[in-house]
Protein backbone atom coordinates (compact mmCIF):
# COMPACT_ATOMS: atom_id res chain seq x y z
CA UNK A 1 0.00 0.00 0.00
CA UNK A 2 1.34 3.40 -0.93
CA UNK A 3 1.67 5.66 2.07
CA UNK A 4 0.81 8.87 0.24
CA UNK A 5 -2.21 10.06 -1.74
CA UNK A 6 -1.62 11.09 -5.32
CA UNK A 7 -1.46 14.83 -5.97
CA UNK A 8 -3.55 16.41 -8.71
CA UNK A 9 -5.33 19.70 -9.31
CA UNK A 10 -7.99 18.41 -6.92
CA UNK A 11 -5.85 18.34 -3.83
CA UNK A 12 -2.71 20.32 -4.67
CA UNK A 13 -1.77 23.04 -2.15
CA UNK A 14 -1.36 26.61 -3.30
CA UNK A 15 -0.41 28.66 -0.25
CA UNK A 16 0.50 28.23 3.38
CA UNK A 17 1.60 29.36 6.75
CA UNK A 18 0.00 25.95 7.17
CA UNK A 19 1.65 22.69 6.29
CA UNK A 20 -0.04 20.63 3.62
CA UNK A 21 0.62 16.93 3.60
CA UNK A 22 -0.49 13.97 1.59
CA UNK A 23 0.64 11.12 3.80
CA UNK A 24 -2.04 8.66 4.71
CA UNK A 25 -1.02 8.39 8.34
CA UNK A 26 -1.67 12.10 8.99
CA UNK A 27 -4.92 12.04 7.01
CA UNK A 28 -6.15 9.01 8.96
CA UNK A 29 -5.16 10.55 12.30
CA UNK A 30 -7.24 13.68 11.69
CA UNK A 31 -10.18 11.65 10.38
CA UNK A 32 -10.02 9.48 13.47
CA UNK A 33 -9.90 12.49 15.83
CA UNK A 34 -12.96 14.30 14.44
CA UNK A 35 -16.58 13.81 15.45
CA UNK A 36 -18.39 15.39 12.52
CA UNK A 37 -17.66 15.29 8.80
CA UNK A 38 -18.94 17.93 6.42
CA UNK A 39 -20.13 16.12 3.31
CA UNK A 40 -20.70 17.99 0.06
CA UNK A 41 -22.65 16.73 -2.94
CA UNK A 42 -24.38 18.20 -5.98
CA UNK A 43 -28.17 18.52 -6.08
CA UNK A 44 -29.86 20.07 -9.10
CA UNK A 45 -26.52 21.43 -10.26
CA UNK A 46 -25.78 23.17 -6.98
CA UNK A 47 -23.58 22.26 -4.03
CA UNK A 48 -25.07 21.21 -0.70
CA UNK A 49 -23.07 20.51 2.47
CA UNK A 50 -24.38 18.43 5.36
CA UNK A 51 -22.73 17.60 8.71
CA UNK A 52 -22.70 13.84 9.34
CA UNK A 53 -21.43 11.33 11.85
CA UNK A 54 -18.88 9.02 10.28
CA UNK A 55 -16.27 6.34 10.77
CA UNK A 56 -13.20 5.20 8.86
CA UNK A 57 -11.63 1.84 8.17
CA UNK A 58 -8.53 1.65 5.96
CA UNK A 59 -9.31 3.69 2.84
CA UNK A 60 -13.07 3.82 3.35
CA UNK A 61 -15.16 6.47 5.11
CA UNK A 62 -18.61 5.32 6.21
CA UNK A 63 -21.58 7.68 6.50
CA UNK A 64 -25.09 6.94 7.60
CA UNK A 65 -28.53 8.47 7.94
CA UNK A 66 -32.16 7.56 7.71
CA UNK A 67 -32.59 5.37 4.60
CA UNK A 68 -35.14 7.82 3.24
CA UNK A 69 -33.19 10.96 4.13
CA UNK A 70 -32.44 13.30 1.28
CA UNK A 71 -28.73 13.15 2.02
CA UNK A 72 -28.63 9.37 1.59
CA UNK A 73 -30.56 9.53 -1.68
CA UNK A 74 -28.31 12.29 -2.95
CA UNK A 75 -25.07 10.57 -1.96
CA UNK A 76 -26.31 7.50 -3.79
CA UNK A 77 -26.69 9.51 -6.97
CA UNK A 78 -23.42 11.46 -6.90
CA UNK A 79 -20.40 9.84 -8.53
CA UNK A 80 -17.88 11.79 -6.50
CA UNK A 81 -18.30 13.61 -3.22
CA UNK A 82 -16.08 15.75 -1.03
CA UNK A 83 -15.70 15.37 2.72
CA UNK A 84 -13.95 17.76 5.08
CA UNK A 85 -13.15 17.16 8.74
CA UNK A 86 -11.71 20.16 10.58
CA UNK A 87 -10.64 20.46 14.20
CA UNK A 88 -9.96 24.00 15.37
CA UNK A 89 -7.00 24.24 17.75
CA UNK A 90 -6.79 27.94 18.43
CA UNK A 91 -6.95 31.55 17.35
CA UNK A 92 -3.67 33.06 16.18
CA UNK A 93 -3.52 36.73 17.14
CA UNK A 94 -0.87 38.38 15.00
CA UNK A 95 0.32 41.99 15.01
CA UNK A 96 -1.89 42.72 11.99
CA UNK A 97 -5.35 41.53 10.98
CA UNK A 98 -3.84 40.25 7.73
CA UNK A 99 -1.56 37.77 9.49
CA UNK A 100 -4.06 36.72 12.15
CA UNK A 101 -5.47 33.26 11.56
CA UNK A 102 -6.24 29.97 13.21
CA UNK A 103 -4.47 26.81 14.23
CA UNK A 104 -6.27 23.72 13.01
CA UNK A 105 -6.11 20.20 11.67
CA UNK A 106 -8.13 19.74 8.51
CA UNK A 107 -8.56 16.87 6.07
CA UNK A 108 -10.28 16.94 2.70
CA UNK A 109 -11.27 13.66 1.06
CA UNK A 110 -12.49 13.17 -2.49
CA UNK A 111 -14.20 9.84 -2.85
CA UNK A 112 -16.72 7.69 -4.59
CA UNK A 113 -19.89 7.01 -2.63
CA UNK A 114 -21.85 3.80 -2.85
CA UNK A 115 -24.94 2.66 -0.98
CA UNK A 116 -24.28 -0.55 0.95
CA UNK A 117 -26.96 -3.14 0.22
CA UNK A 118 -25.78 -6.39 1.82
CA UNK A 119 -26.95 -6.61 5.43
CA UNK A 120 -23.66 -7.98 6.78
CA UNK A 121 -21.67 -5.17 5.13
CA UNK A 122 -24.15 -2.65 6.44
CA UNK A 123 -23.86 -3.94 9.99
CA UNK A 124 -20.09 -3.85 9.75
CA UNK A 125 -20.19 -0.22 8.60
CA UNK A 126 -22.67 0.70 11.34
CA UNK A 127 -20.27 -0.78 13.88
CA UNK A 128 -17.34 1.21 12.46
CA UNK A 129 -19.35 4.45 12.77
CA UNK A 130 -20.54 3.59 16.29
CA UNK A 131 -17.05 2.64 17.45
CA UNK A 132 -15.64 5.85 16.01
CA UNK A 133 -18.03 7.91 18.13
CA UNK A 134 -18.24 5.63 21.19
CA UNK A 135 -15.38 3.12 21.29
CA UNK A 136 -16.35 -0.11 23.03
CA UNK A 137 -20.04 0.72 23.11
CA UNK A 138 -21.21 -1.54 20.25
CA UNK A 139 -20.69 -4.76 22.19
CA UNK A 140 -22.47 -3.37 25.27
CA UNK A 141 -25.66 -2.65 23.39
CA UNK A 142 -28.33 -5.04 22.11
CA UNK A 143 -28.01 -6.11 18.48
CA UNK A 144 -29.66 -3.78 15.96
CA UNK A 145 -33.17 -4.93 15.03
CA UNK A 146 -33.87 -5.92 11.44
CA UNK A 147 -36.16 -2.93 11.00
CA UNK A 148 -33.46 -0.61 12.35
CA UNK A 149 -30.96 -1.91 9.80
CA UNK A 150 -33.58 -1.49 7.05
CA UNK A 151 -34.34 2.06 8.15
CA UNK A 152 -30.65 3.00 8.09
CA UNK A 153 -28.98 4.10 4.89
CA UNK A 154 -25.24 3.48 4.92
CA UNK A 155 -22.86 4.90 2.35
CA UNK A 156 -19.31 3.73 1.85
CA UNK A 157 -16.97 6.30 0.38
CA UNK A 158 -13.76 4.89 -1.00
CA UNK A 159 -11.06 7.53 -0.74
CA UNK A 160 -9.86 8.45 -4.24
CA UNK A 161 -7.48 11.09 -2.95
CA UNK A 162 -7.07 13.20 0.15
CA UNK A 163 -4.89 15.76 1.85
CA UNK A 164 -4.34 17.21 5.30
CA UNK A 165 -3.54 20.76 6.28
CA UNK A 166 -2.11 21.39 9.73
CA UNK A 167 -1.53 24.87 11.13
CA UNK A 168 0.29 25.16 14.44
CA UNK A 169 2.33 27.58 16.48
CA UNK A 170 2.76 31.30 16.76
CA UNK A 171 1.87 34.03 14.25
CA UNK A 172 4.23 34.95 11.45
CA UNK A 173 4.28 38.72 11.22
CA UNK A 174 5.78 41.13 8.73
CA UNK A 175 9.36 41.94 9.82
CA UNK A 176 8.56 45.60 10.52
CA UNK A 177 5.44 44.71 12.56
CA UNK A 178 7.53 43.13 15.32
CA UNK A 179 8.36 46.72 16.38
CA UNK A 180 4.69 47.50 17.13
CA UNK A 181 3.97 47.41 20.87
CA UNK A 182 0.86 45.24 20.58
CA UNK A 183 0.33 41.86 22.21
CA UNK A 184 0.48 38.81 19.95
CA UNK A 185 0.22 35.11 20.56
CA UNK A 186 -2.13 32.18 20.48
CA UNK A 187 -5.41 31.49 22.23
CA UNK A 188 -5.78 27.70 22.22
CA UNK A 189 -9.23 26.17 21.75
CA UNK A 190 -9.62 22.93 23.68
CA UNK A 191 -12.55 20.63 22.95
CA UNK A 192 -13.04 18.16 25.76
CA UNK A 193 -15.65 15.51 26.50
CA UNK A 194 -16.68 16.33 30.06
CA UNK A 195 -18.30 14.20 32.74
CA UNK A 196 -21.17 11.85 32.07
CA UNK A 197 -24.74 12.95 32.69
CA UNK A 198 -27.07 10.11 33.72
CA UNK A 199 -30.31 9.59 31.83
CA UNK A 200 -33.33 10.16 34.12
CA UNK A 201 -34.64 6.69 33.49
CA UNK A 202 -31.60 4.56 34.39
CA UNK A 203 -32.48 1.28 36.11
CA UNK A 204 -31.32 1.08 39.74
CA UNK A 205 -27.64 0.26 40.23
CA UNK A 206 -26.79 0.63 36.54
CA UNK A 207 -23.43 2.34 36.21
CA UNK A 208 -21.41 3.47 33.19
CA UNK A 209 -19.06 0.78 31.90
CA UNK A 210 -15.29 1.13 31.80
CA UNK A 211 -15.51 1.81 28.05
CA UNK A 212 -17.97 4.66 28.56
CA UNK A 213 -16.01 6.10 31.49
CA UNK A 214 -12.87 6.06 29.33
CA UNK A 215 -14.53 8.62 27.03
CA UNK A 216 -14.63 11.21 29.81
CA UNK A 217 -12.07 14.02 29.80
CA UNK A 218 -10.88 12.98 26.35
CA UNK A 219 -9.74 15.93 24.27
CA UNK A 220 -10.28 15.94 20.53
Amino acid sequence: MKDKYSVSNLNKFRQLREKGVYDKETVHKVLDAGLVAHVAFVEDGRAVVVPMIYGRHDETVYLHGARKARVIRMLESNDRICINVTLVDGIVLARSAFNSSMNYRSVTVFGTPQLIEAEADKLYAMKVISEHLMPGRWDELRDPLDKEVKMTGVIEVSIDTASAKIATGMPTDEPEDYEIPVWAGVLPLVSRLESLQDDDRLLPDVKASAAVRALQNRTL
Copy 2:
Protein backbone atom coordinates in the same frame (compact mmCIF):
# COMPACT_ATOMS: atom_id res chain seq x y z
CA MET B 1 -38.01 42.55 8.10
CA LYS B 2 -39.53 39.10 8.32
CA ASP B 3 -38.24 37.14 11.27
CA LYS B 4 -38.34 33.73 9.56
CA TYR B 5 -36.68 32.31 6.46
CA SER B 6 -38.95 30.97 3.75
CA VAL B 7 -39.33 27.19 3.60
CA SER B 8 -38.84 25.34 0.34
CA ASN B 9 -37.52 21.97 -0.78
CA LEU B 10 -34.06 23.38 -0.16
CA ASN B 11 -34.36 23.79 3.57
CA LYS B 12 -37.48 21.81 4.60
CA PHE B 13 -36.95 19.37 7.48
CA ARG B 14 -37.78 15.72 7.04
CA GLN B 15 -37.02 13.96 10.32
CA LEU B 16 -36.02 14.73 13.87
CA ARG B 17 -35.28 13.97 17.44
CA GLU B 18 -33.77 17.33 16.67
CA LYS B 19 -35.69 20.53 16.44
CA GLY B 20 -35.62 22.32 13.11
CA VAL B 21 -36.31 26.01 13.08
CA TYR B 22 -36.42 28.75 10.52
CA ASP B 23 -36.38 31.81 12.76
CA LYS B 24 -33.67 34.28 11.97
CA GLU B 25 -32.73 34.90 15.59
CA THR B 26 -31.75 31.24 16.14
CA VAL B 27 -29.91 31.06 12.81
CA HIS B 28 -27.96 34.22 13.61
CA LYS B 29 -27.10 33.00 17.11
CA VAL B 30 -25.54 29.78 15.82
CA LEU B 31 -23.70 31.61 13.03
CA ASP B 32 -22.34 34.07 15.60
CA ALA B 33 -21.19 31.28 17.95
CA GLY B 34 -19.20 29.27 15.40
CA LEU B 35 -15.57 29.77 14.42
CA VAL B 36 -15.43 27.89 11.13
CA ALA B 37 -17.92 27.69 8.27
CA HIS B 38 -17.93 24.81 5.82
CA VAL B 39 -18.51 26.31 2.40
CA ALA B 40 -19.59 24.14 -0.54
CA PHE B 41 -19.43 25.07 -4.21
CA VAL B 42 -19.41 23.30 -7.56
CA GLU B 43 -16.18 22.89 -9.50
CA ASP B 44 -16.17 21.03 -12.83
CA GLY B 45 -19.62 19.66 -12.02
CA ARG B 46 -18.59 18.22 -8.68
CA ALA B 47 -19.03 19.43 -5.12
CA VAL B 48 -16.11 20.75 -3.09
CA VAL B 49 -16.27 21.77 0.58
CA VAL B 50 -13.74 24.08 2.23
CA PRO B 51 -13.51 25.25 5.86
CA MET B 52 -13.33 29.04 6.09
CA ILE B 53 -13.21 31.81 8.67
CA TYR B 54 -16.28 34.02 8.36
CA GLY B 55 -18.35 36.79 9.86
CA ARG B 56 -21.99 37.84 9.65
CA HIS B 57 -23.78 41.15 9.53
CA ASP B 58 -27.57 41.21 9.17
CA GLU B 59 -28.39 38.89 6.27
CA THR B 60 -24.90 38.72 4.84
CA VAL B 61 -22.15 36.19 5.55
CA TYR B 62 -18.63 37.34 4.69
CA LEU B 63 -15.85 34.96 3.65
CA HIS B 64 -12.28 35.70 2.77
CA GLY B 65 -9.11 34.13 1.50
CA ALA B 66 -6.10 34.93 -0.60
CA ARG B 67 -7.33 36.80 -3.70
CA LYS B 68 -5.73 34.18 -5.92
CA ALA B 69 -6.90 31.17 -3.90
CA ARG B 70 -8.94 28.60 -5.78
CA VAL B 71 -11.78 28.92 -3.30
CA ILE B 72 -12.18 32.66 -3.96
CA ARG B 73 -12.11 32.16 -7.73
CA MET B 74 -14.66 29.34 -7.44
CA LEU B 75 -17.00 31.23 -5.13
CA GLU B 76 -16.91 34.09 -7.60
CA SER B 77 -18.13 31.80 -10.36
CA ASN B 78 -20.90 29.92 -8.47
CA ASP B 79 -24.35 31.47 -8.51
CA ARG B 80 -25.47 29.75 -5.33
CA ILE B 81 -23.41 28.25 -2.55
CA CYS B 82 -24.20 26.37 0.63
CA ILE B 83 -22.66 27.11 4.02
CA ASN B 84 -22.92 24.98 7.14
CA VAL B 85 -21.80 25.92 10.64
CA THR B 86 -22.06 23.13 13.22
CA LEU B 87 -21.17 23.19 16.91
CA VAL B 88 -21.09 19.77 18.56
CA ASP B 89 -22.44 19.84 22.12
CA GLY B 90 -22.21 16.20 23.14
CA ILE B 91 -22.51 12.51 22.46
CA VAL B 92 -25.91 10.99 23.24
CA LEU B 93 -25.47 7.42 24.46
CA ALA B 94 -28.80 5.64 24.09
CA ARG B 95 -29.71 2.05 25.01
CA SER B 96 -29.29 1.04 21.36
CA ALA B 97 -26.84 2.03 18.65
CA PHE B 98 -29.81 3.05 16.51
CA ASN B 99 -30.97 5.74 18.93
CA SER B 100 -27.50 6.96 19.87
CA SER B 101 -26.66 10.32 18.35
CA MET B 102 -25.24 13.73 19.09
CA ASN B 103 -26.34 17.01 20.57
CA TYR B 104 -25.46 19.93 18.37
CA ARG B 105 -26.36 23.32 16.96
CA SER B 106 -26.22 23.46 13.19
CA VAL B 107 -27.13 26.07 10.61
CA THR B 108 -27.32 25.67 6.85
CA VAL B 109 -27.36 28.75 4.65
CA PHE B 110 -28.10 28.89 0.94
CA GLY B 111 -26.88 32.12 -0.53
CA THR B 112 -25.63 34.05 -3.47
CA PRO B 113 -21.90 34.83 -3.44
CA GLN B 114 -20.38 37.95 -4.88
CA LEU B 115 -16.82 39.18 -4.93
CA ILE B 116 -16.49 42.56 -3.23
CA GLU B 117 -14.62 45.02 -5.43
CA ALA B 118 -14.88 48.41 -3.74
CA GLU B 119 -12.08 48.94 -1.24
CA ALA B 120 -14.28 50.52 1.45
CA ASP B 121 -16.75 47.61 1.26
CA LYS B 122 -13.90 45.16 1.38
CA LEU B 123 -12.39 46.79 4.47
CA TYR B 124 -15.78 46.75 6.16
CA ALA B 125 -16.19 43.03 5.46
CA MET B 126 -12.65 42.30 6.66
CA LYS B 127 -13.48 44.07 9.90
CA VAL B 128 -16.70 42.03 10.33
CA ILE B 129 -14.73 38.79 9.88
CA SER B 130 -11.96 39.92 12.22
CA GLU B 131 -14.39 41.06 14.89
CA HIS B 132 -16.28 37.77 14.65
CA LEU B 133 -13.12 35.84 15.47
CA MET B 134 -11.45 38.37 17.77
CA PRO B 135 -13.93 40.98 19.09
CA GLY B 136 -12.29 44.31 19.81
CA ARG B 137 -9.04 43.41 18.10
CA TRP B 138 -9.51 45.37 14.85
CA ASP B 139 -9.05 48.76 16.50
CA GLU B 140 -5.94 47.62 18.38
CA LEU B 141 -4.10 46.64 15.22
CA ARG B 142 -2.51 48.85 12.59
CA ASP B 143 -4.61 49.58 9.52
CA PRO B 144 -4.40 47.02 6.74
CA LEU B 145 -1.86 47.99 4.08
CA ASP B 146 -3.06 48.63 0.53
CA LYS B 147 -1.24 45.57 -0.71
CA GLU B 148 -2.86 43.44 2.00
CA VAL B 149 -6.31 44.57 0.95
CA LYS B 150 -5.41 43.85 -2.69
CA MET B 151 -4.11 40.38 -1.82
CA THR B 152 -7.32 39.53 0.07
CA GLY B 153 -10.34 38.19 -1.76
CA VAL B 154 -13.58 38.91 0.08
CA ILE B 155 -16.89 37.30 -0.81
CA GLU B 156 -20.25 38.52 0.43
CA VAL B 157 -22.94 35.88 0.55
CA SER B 158 -26.45 37.24 0.83
CA ILE B 159 -28.60 34.70 2.65
CA ASP B 160 -31.36 33.50 0.33
CA THR B 161 -32.71 31.05 2.86
CA ALA B 162 -31.47 29.23 5.92
CA SER B 163 -32.44 26.89 8.71
CA ALA B 164 -31.15 25.76 12.08
CA LYS B 165 -31.28 22.34 13.66
CA ILE B 166 -30.76 22.07 17.40
CA ALA B 167 -30.48 18.73 19.20
CA THR B 168 -30.39 18.79 23.00
CA GLY B 169 -31.09 16.61 25.99
CA MET B 170 -31.21 12.94 26.79
CA PRO B 171 -31.65 9.98 24.42
CA THR B 172 -35.07 8.86 23.27
CA ASP B 173 -35.12 5.08 23.44
CA GLU B 174 -37.62 2.48 22.26
CA PRO B 175 -40.14 1.89 25.08
CA GLU B 176 -38.99 -1.74 25.59
CA ASP B 177 -35.30 -0.73 25.71
CA TYR B 178 -35.78 1.13 29.00
CA GLU B 179 -35.86 -2.33 30.64
CA ILE B 180 -32.30 -3.14 29.51
CA PRO B 181 -29.80 -2.71 32.36
CA VAL B 182 -27.32 -0.66 30.36
CA TRP B 183 -26.13 2.84 31.21
CA ALA B 184 -27.46 5.68 29.07
CA GLY B 185 -27.02 9.42 29.13
CA VAL B 186 -25.10 12.28 27.62
CA LEU B 187 -21.41 13.05 27.42
CA PRO B 188 -21.17 16.81 26.87
CA LEU B 189 -18.47 18.21 24.62
CA VAL B 190 -17.23 21.59 25.80
CA SER B 191 -15.12 23.74 23.49
CA ARG B 192 -13.34 26.43 25.44
CA LEU B 193 -10.78 29.07 24.56
CA GLU B 194 -8.08 28.55 27.16
CA SER B 195 -5.39 30.87 28.46
CA LEU B 196 -3.30 33.09 26.24
CA GLN B 197 0.12 31.98 25.09
CA ASP B 198 2.57 34.83 24.54
CA ASP B 199 4.42 35.09 21.26
CA ASP B 200 8.19 34.66 21.76
CA ARG B 201 8.94 38.03 20.23
CA LEU B 202 6.72 40.32 22.34
CA LEU B 203 8.26 43.69 23.10
CA PRO B 204 9.08 44.28 26.79
CA ASP B 205 6.10 45.24 28.98
CA VAL B 206 3.53 44.54 26.26
CA LYS B 207 0.48 42.86 27.82
CA ALA B 208 -2.72 41.53 26.33
CA SER B 209 -5.47 44.16 26.16
CA ALA B 210 -8.78 43.88 27.98
CA ALA B 211 -10.45 42.86 24.72
CA VAL B 212 -8.01 40.02 24.18
CA ARG B 213 -8.19 38.89 27.80
CA ALA B 214 -11.99 38.81 27.52
CA LEU B 215 -11.65 36.02 24.96
CA GLN B 216 -10.10 33.69 27.53
CA ASN B 217 -12.27 30.97 29.04
CA ARG B 218 -15.04 31.71 26.59
CA THR B 219 -16.99 28.60 25.59
CA LEU B 220 -18.40 28.23 22.11
